[in-house]
Symmetry: C2
Subunit: 177 residues, 2 copies
DNA sequence: CACAAGTTTCAATAATTATTGAAACTTTTG
DNA sequence: CAAAAGTTTCAATAATTATTGAAACTTGTG
C-alpha cells in the first residue's frame, strides 16, 4: 500500500486550498451545498483519482457526507467512479473538460428548474378569466412576458448544450464584442 | 381612506397566489430569500402600487421583513418607491418590462459574483511555481480553463445588458433554432 | 414642539438546510 | 461462510439563514 507519492509543494497546496475555498464560498449563490462545490473543486484540481478516505481527509468532512456528496456529483455527470484493478476501494475523477462540465450543469439545471417552471407557467396561463378586468389583463401580460423569457432561455441553453468546442466561444465573441 | 376598490375575483386571486408560490419556491435555486422572490412576484402582478401594509398582509410577513425585503428589491433596481400626493405612506411598484428586469438581475449578479470571481481567479493564477510539476500544471490548466469560461460568460452577459428589445431575442433564436 | 404616522434597525428566535456518525448493508477474500 | 473492507442510509444534531417584533428613529402635522 503506497503512501502519497506527492512531493507536497506547500505553496501549491495552499493555492489549491484557496481555490476550494473560493469555489465553496460561491456555492450559496447557486443553491448548492458547500460540500458539493468544494468536492467538485478538489477533484477538478487533482490530477489523480481520489478515494472516499482522501476526500474526507482533504475536505474535513464525515464519511456520510462524502458518500452522499460524491454520489450527487456523479448524478450531475461531473464525476466518474474509477475502479483500480486489484484494489477494493473506489476512486473518483472529475470530468476535466470545462465545456463538458458546463454542458452537464446546464442540462441538469434546465431539466430541474426551467422545464418545471415552464410547465407550471403554462398551467397558470391556461386559467380563463374576464379580459375586461384590468387585474386579469395585468396578470396575463406578466405571465406571457415571463413565458417569452423562459422560452428564450430554453433556446439559448439548448443551443449551448449542442455547441461544439470553439463554435460557441467564437459565435459569442463575434456577437457581443 | 378608501378600502380596496378591487372586485376580488376569487379565481384570479388564487392564480396570483399560485404564481407567488411558484416564484417563491424557485428562490432556493438562486440563492435569494423566499420573501424576496415572493414580494417581487406579488408586485409584478399588481397593477397598482402597494404599501408596506399591503405587502405585509398579502405575504403574511412581519413589518421588519417587509421593510428590509422591499429595500433589497429597490437595491436590485427591480422596484421603485411611489409617493402619492397628500399621502404620507410609501407605495411600491415593480419594474414591469421583463427585458429591463432581466438586465437588472444580470447586472447585479455579474457585479456581485462574476466580477469578484474573476478577480480571485486572476490572483490565484498569478501564483508562480515549477512548470515541470504535474500537480502544478494540472492546477494551472484548470484555472486557465475556468478563466476562459468566466471571460465568455462576461462577454455574453455584457452583451445581453446592452441589447435592444427585439435584437436579443431575434439573434438568439436565429442562432440556436 | 408634542404628537402621530410611518419607517428602519437589529438582537433574539424560528425555520431551514447541511452534516454527522453509528448501524445496516454489500461485496470481497481466505 | 465468517471475517474484513468498504459503502450507504437516515435519524439526530449542528450550522446556517431568514424572520420576527419591539424599540429607536424620522418625518410630517395641528
Amino acid at each position: 500500500m503506497p503512501d502519497q507519492p506527492t512531493p507536497t509543494n506547500p505553496a501549491l497546496e495552499q493555492a489549491k486550498a484557496q481555490f476550494i475555498q473560493l469555489w465553496g464560498a460561491s456555492s450559496a449563490n447557486w443553491g448548492i451545498s458547500r460540500s458539493l462545490a468544494q468536492m467538485h473543486a478538489l477533484l477538478l484540481v487533482s490530477p489523480a483519482a481520489l478515494s472516499t478516505e482522501e476526500l474526507m481527509a482533504q475536505l474535513q468532512i464525515s464519511r456520510g457526507n462524502a458518500s452522499m456528496t460524491v454520489r450527487e456529483l456523479m448524478d450531475w455527470g461531473l464525476v466518474y467512479k474509477e475502479l483500480k484493478p486489484g484494489e477494493r476501494r473506489e476512486y473518483f475523477v472529475a470530468e476535466k473538460d470545462m465545456l463538458q462540465v458546463t454542458r452537464c450543469i446546464i442540462r441538469e439545471r434546465k431539466r430541474r428548474e426551467l422545464d418545471a417552471m415552464k410547465r407550471s407557467l403554462a398551467q397558470l396561463a391556461a386559467l380563463p378569466g374576464d379580459p375586461a378586468d384590468p387585474e386579469y389583463r395585468e396578470f396575463h401580460r406578466v405571465l406571457g412576458d415571463i413565458q417569452q423569457l423562459t422560452d428564450s432561455a430554453d433556446s439559448v441553453l439548448s443551443g449551448v448544450m449542442k455547441a461544439e468546442k470553439n463554435w460557441l466561444i467564437d459565435k459569442f465573441l463575434r456577437m457581443f464584442l
